[in-house]
């Protein structure tokens, strides 16, 4: 499941969610990915995403995009990846240096790694201090923490999410245009708002990756809610604004097609299944389609001939 800003705000109630946990590398490797949320991990009763390790650099790899430092703290080896800010950025560390690295946990090609957000060279004794701190803090990490349950979200409109509202308002200013995802990410007002919102929920710096993730997850949420439709092939990443009328026409077209062949009511599940076969509606989720049917019932365009079976009012 993709994380939305609402999910991040909810999970923030656990203080460990935004804290880089001081861990031994063995613990970092043993942590299991969260079953529901992508890029999150389960450590005892806590959902976590950041960690801090301290150890000796025993391997260095460089490529066009960044540097990978292999760190050994005598409990395990961990690849820690740093994305370069400039092409010519030199290596921050050399072999055998003792470093403290903080960053986001990640799995790449089924191998655990750390995406470095913060790095520093430390004195050799710091490594032993880190072991002691990690072992001592483990008692606190083990303490049980239950996140309070969420209120019913079925009535929450997308306008309540500030970034969703802003992104939707951007699209509504350009109703006839087709934009690529990358173009939307360049809008300065949206970028500034994204920065502001991410800074509020993140305990430390907002990265380019965080911004792109936010734009991506919000665009997909708007597509699922029926506000945006893909334009072009699935690889093109182009979107256009979709109107409620367009969605209603889609539902009516499906019902008309069957009614022209035989005078039968159409089941709700069939409408949903056929609706998503249209390329423009392929992302729309069930709840949105059901709300369109409800709206058509209220307008007396449709009537319910049987339980969850609909016909057009003639």
């Amino acid at each position: 499941m993709e994380l939305t800003l609402k999910d991040i705000t909810y999970l923030n109630q656990d203080p460990l969610f935004n804290t880089p946990l001081k861990l031994l590398i063995r613990n970092v490797i043993d942590i299991s990915p969260h079953k529901e949320f992508k890029d999150l991990y389960q450590h005892y009763d806590h959902i976590v995403r950041y960690a801090e390790v301290c150890g000796v650099i025993v391997g260095i790899e460089q490529n066009y995009y960044g540097h990978t430092y292999t760190v050994d703290d005598s409990t395990g080896l961990l690849d820690c990846h740093y994305w370069k800010l400039m092409d010519s950025e030199p290596l921050a560390f050399n072999l055998s240096q003792t470093v403290r690295l903080r960053g986001k946990l990640s799995d790449y090609r089924e191998k655990r790694q750390l995406i470095i957000d913060d790095k520093e060279l430390v004195e050799n004794m710091e490594e032993s201090v880190h072991w002691v701190e990690a072992l001592h803090l483990d008692k606190y990490y083990r303490k049980s923490y239950m996140l309070p349950s969420l209120p019913e979200s079925s009535d929450i409109q997308s306008e309540e999410d500030p970034f969703e509202s802003a992104l939707l308002a951007y699209w509504r200013k350009h109703p006839d245009d087709v934009y690529s995802f990358a173009e939307v990410c360049q809008d300065p007002d949206l970028v500034e708002l994204a920065h502001k919102l991410l800074s509020e929920v993140s305990g430390w710096g907002v990265t380019e990756h965080d911004l792109v993730e936010l734009f991506s997850s919000t665009t997909k949420a708007l597509a699922r809610a029926g506000y945006l439709a893909p334009a072009g092939s699935s690889e093109s990443n182009l979107y256009r604004l979709m109107t409620p009328k367009e969605l209603e026409k889609g539902v009516l077209k499906i019902i008309n097609e069957i009614c022209e062949l035989m005078d039968l009511g159409i089941r709700k599940n069939y409408i949903i299944e056929r609706f998503r076969k249209y390329p423009a509606f392929c992302f729309v989720e069930d709840s949105t389609i059901i709300s369109i049917i409800k709206s058509l019932l209220e307008q007396s365009v449709l009537y319910e001939s049987d339980y969850n079976v609909y016909k057009i009012v003639v």
């Binding site: 025993v58 055998s96 240096q97 004794m125 032993s128």
Partner: protein, 118 residues
């Protein structure tokens, strides 16, 4: 050369049970008692126990004698006559500012915590 994490082991532990440590990756600490740059061999001493270091893979292993040095490497073989193991070093560092006694206590604390967890 293996790509495994170097387990912290005292020199005495390797010499007392060489078969258990052969072909494992270890992290050893001790004072540099000899260094021969021609043969790329050095000797490390800790608490009266010695170990031979093969530093042929390390570019700049040039520490003054009596420096407290820590090396990560593989236990390559054990010499029965000398009762000393040889460690093929891949990474080494100078620990001269480290308080060795405090370091030993930190290792002991870590081992006791790990034993209680397991």
């Amino acid at each position: 050369m293996s790509f495994r994490s170097g387990q912290i082991v005292w020199i005495s532990e390797i010499n007392n049970d060489p078969s258990a440590h052969l072909n494992t990756c270890v992290r050893v600490t001790g004072f540099l008692s000899s260094l021969d740059l021609d043969t790329k061999r050095a000797t490390l001493i800790h608490n009266g126990h010695s170990i031979i270091l093969d530093v042929s893979l390390v570019e700049s292993f040039q520490y003054p004698l009596q420096t407290l040095v820590q090396c990560i490497g593989d236990v390559a073989h054990y010499n029965e006559e000398l009762s000393m193991a040889t460690v093929l070093v891949k990474v080494s560092r100078d620990l001269n500012i480290v308080d060795l006694e405090l370091y030993e206590r930190a290792v002991q604390y870590r081992r006791s915590c790990e034993a209680s967890i397991l």
